[in-house]
């Protein structure tokens, strides 16, 4: 990965301190996840140069934007980046087009180059160009803000909880556009969020922050399936699998294939071969030592126990499983674990009661 991102920041304030040292992939979406006050927004602002860490280093590939040890700090306006804030923060004195052209006019040729009509079409705002920001809905404003950031020719897109200020309906309206950016953009996106469902849906790489420190950083599933972490996701513990649509069957079920086996979901009209993200919560997975015949649960895969650990729910344990190389989590009662003699290395069947399709 030649264009990997190096980020090292140490910020000390009276009531807060941030100390992170991260190497992040140079493409795809990296989610910075944590509770409010965990330092994720400060970390993003430090990357943007809006916050200057006295001890800091930030580079994308060969391009160094901050290296305090060498006395280097490139001010924000000289960095080829795009930032989308929680509130769209459109300039009220400019039209939608004026907002979008603001960064485009000033962009250097270093970063990504887009034509305005292309971006407007991609974000579904081409019919709004002549409007004033005040005439837009919250979701439309945020899409304009994303378009404006992209037109400035960024080498990296930084998003600070871009959906947090929107209601559920607007969120669902924007998510497909974010997925489209994810598929079509060649630049890395750093995505700050405290919503597990957004992270599960969008992220490739996940950084867990707590109290200004990095608790975990790695591929999404690697981090999601770690059972030794303080329960960041608590009741939402679970993994995300990428499965491809294999067939649509006559009884209104769609068959999905993933390396660990086959799962059936309600009919989902995507063409065969499409990759879909599915989320499987630990609470929806139960374990059986022998294949069950007399059960209504359709989705059943072979798995090997990797490890087990206590969880925040009283009387329960989290079991980490290996399904043909893919991790899976199951949450069962401690009593069941003892009765079945669950231990690392045990081969068994994992029954999946529910699969949430993230698309």
């Amino acid at each position: 990965m030649s264009s990997a991102i190096q980020a090292r920041f140490r910020i000390e304030r009276r009531d807060f301190s941030l100390a992170v040292d991260l190497t992040l992939p140079g493409r795809g979406i990296t989610a910075l996840f944590g509770h409010s006050g965990s330092g994720k927004t400060t970390c993003l602002r430090a990357m943007a140069g809006l916050e200057r860490a006295a001890d800091g280093y930030f580079a994308i590939g060969d391009e160094v934007w901050q290296d305090e040890a060498a006395g280097c700090f490139v001010p924000t306006h000289q960095r080829a980046l795009g930032v989308v804030f929680q509130e769209a923060s459109l300039f009220p004195h400019l039209s939608v087009r004026g907002n979008m052209e603001f960064g485009q006019k000033r962009a250097s040729t270093a970063g990504l180059r887009f034509a305005l009509p292309e971006i407007a079409e991609m974000l579904g705002i081409d019919h709004l160009l002549a409007r004033n920001p005040a005439q837009l809905s919250g979701g439309e404003r945020q899409r304009v803000a994303i378009a404006r950031a992209l037109l400035a020719g960024p080498q990296i897109l930084l998003m600070d909880e871009p959906l947090a200020a929107l209601d559920l309906k607007r969120k669902l309206e924007i998510l497909p556009y974010l997925e489209r950016l994810h598929r079509e953009l060649a630049i890395p996106i750093i995505y700050v969020s405290h919503a597990p469902d957004e992270v599960a849906r969008l992220a490739d790489h996940l950084v867990l922050l707590d109290d200004g420190k990095v608790v975990a950083s790695g591929r999404l599933n690697e981090v999601l399936s770690r059972i030794d972490l303080p329960s960041a996701f608590a009741d939402d513990a679970g993994v995300v699998i990428e499965a491809s649509v294999a067939a649509h069957e006559a009884d209104d079920l769609t068959r999905l294939e993933f390396p660990g086996g086959t799962i059936f979901v309600s009919r989902h009209d995507e063409p065969v071969g499409t990759f879909l993200r599915c989320r499987i919560h630990a609470r929806d997975v139960s374990l059986a030592l022998v294949p069950q015949v007399h059960t209504s649960i359709l989705n059943c895969v072979g798995a090997v126990v990797v490890d087990l650990a206590p969880t925040a729910t009283p009387g329960h344990v989290l079991v980490k499983l290996d399904v043909a190389g893919e991790p899976l989590l199951a949450r069962i009662t401690r009593r069941s674990a003892e009765r079945l003699g669950i231990r690392p290395g045990l081969a068994l069947r994992a029954q999946i009661k529910a699969v949430a399709l993230l698309a």
């Binding site: 943007a48 140069g49 809006l50 001010p75 924000t76 306006h77 000289q78 980046l81 795009g82 930032v83 804030f85 509130e87 769209a88 923060s89 459109l90 300039f91 009220p92 004195h93 603001f102 960064g103 000033r106 962009a107 250097s108 920001p133 005040a134 837009l136 404003r141 404006r148 950031a149 400035a152």
Partner: protein, 224 residues
């Protein structure tokens, strides 16, 4: 109206125009600094700018007279530069008026800059605008209502001043005799008709200015 009255009206308008222009040039950076600084001197500078709001114009005029006079620092400077002395001249009146009306221009602009907040300027920086660029392309347009209020208040306040004019400008026709002084002269001479014309005109002028200010000043626009 007599020709001396017309001359006074003309001189007043000229003074107010020059002073307002200078106030915008001088007041804008002060307002910007006051709105954004975290310096410990912020309170002190703010208080000095606001002094004319509470001081009697005669006090301010007295000290300015001393400063500009032959033994004052400014007087010695102007003499050394071969410019002569400022008191009882139009430029002297302009300088005194700029100080006297400064808070009326600085405060609305400062409030407008403060209302913008940090965010639009941060956004501008992330869109490659240098601080100087962002000031002109974002801060000034967003603070427009503040500039409008400041300019109108500065102009109207300069038109209405009296005490400081007497102290610094004296009463020299076509040089320093503005409308407010002319009215005073008329009343002293018991020329009530002429005084009425000018005084009534001032009432009307002030009312129209304030009416415009309250009617047309758009509500502050926030970043959306």
């Amino acid at each position: 109206m007599e020709s001396t009255d017309l001359a006074a009206v003309w001189l007043t308008l000229k003074l107010a125009t020059v002073v307002t222009t200078l106030l915008l040039v001088v007041g804008t950076p002060i307002a910007w600094w006051l709105a954004r600084t975290r310096s410990p001197f912020k309170g002190m500078v703010g208080a000095i700018v606001a002094l004319p709001l509470v001081l009697p114009p005669t006090v301010l005029g007295f000290y300015m007279l001393l400063t500009m006079g032959p033994h004052g620092p400014l007087g010695q400077l102007t003499q050394a530069l071969g410019l002569g002395l400022l008191p009882f001249t139009f430029p002297g009146l302009v300088i005194a008026s700029v100080f006297y009306s400064l808070p009326f221009v600085v405060q609305p602009i400062q409030n407008a800059f403060e209302a913008i907040g940090e965010r639009p300027l941060e956004v501008a920086a992330t869109l490659r605008a240098s601080p100087w660029d962002a000031f002109w392309s974002v801060a000034v347009p967003l603070a427009r209502p503040g500039f409008l209020s400041g300019a109108i208040l500065g102009f109207a306040h300069t038109v209405g001043e009296f005490g400081i004019v007497l102290m610094i400008g004296g009463n020299i026709p076509e040089k320093t005799r503005v409308v407010s002084v002319q009215i005073y002269d008329h009343v002293e001479a018991l020329e009530y008709t002429q005084a009425h014309w000018l005084a009534g005109g001032m009432v009307l002028f002030s009312f129209v200015v304030l009416l415009g200010l309250y009617t047309f000043n758009p509500a502050r626009r926030k970043a959306l």
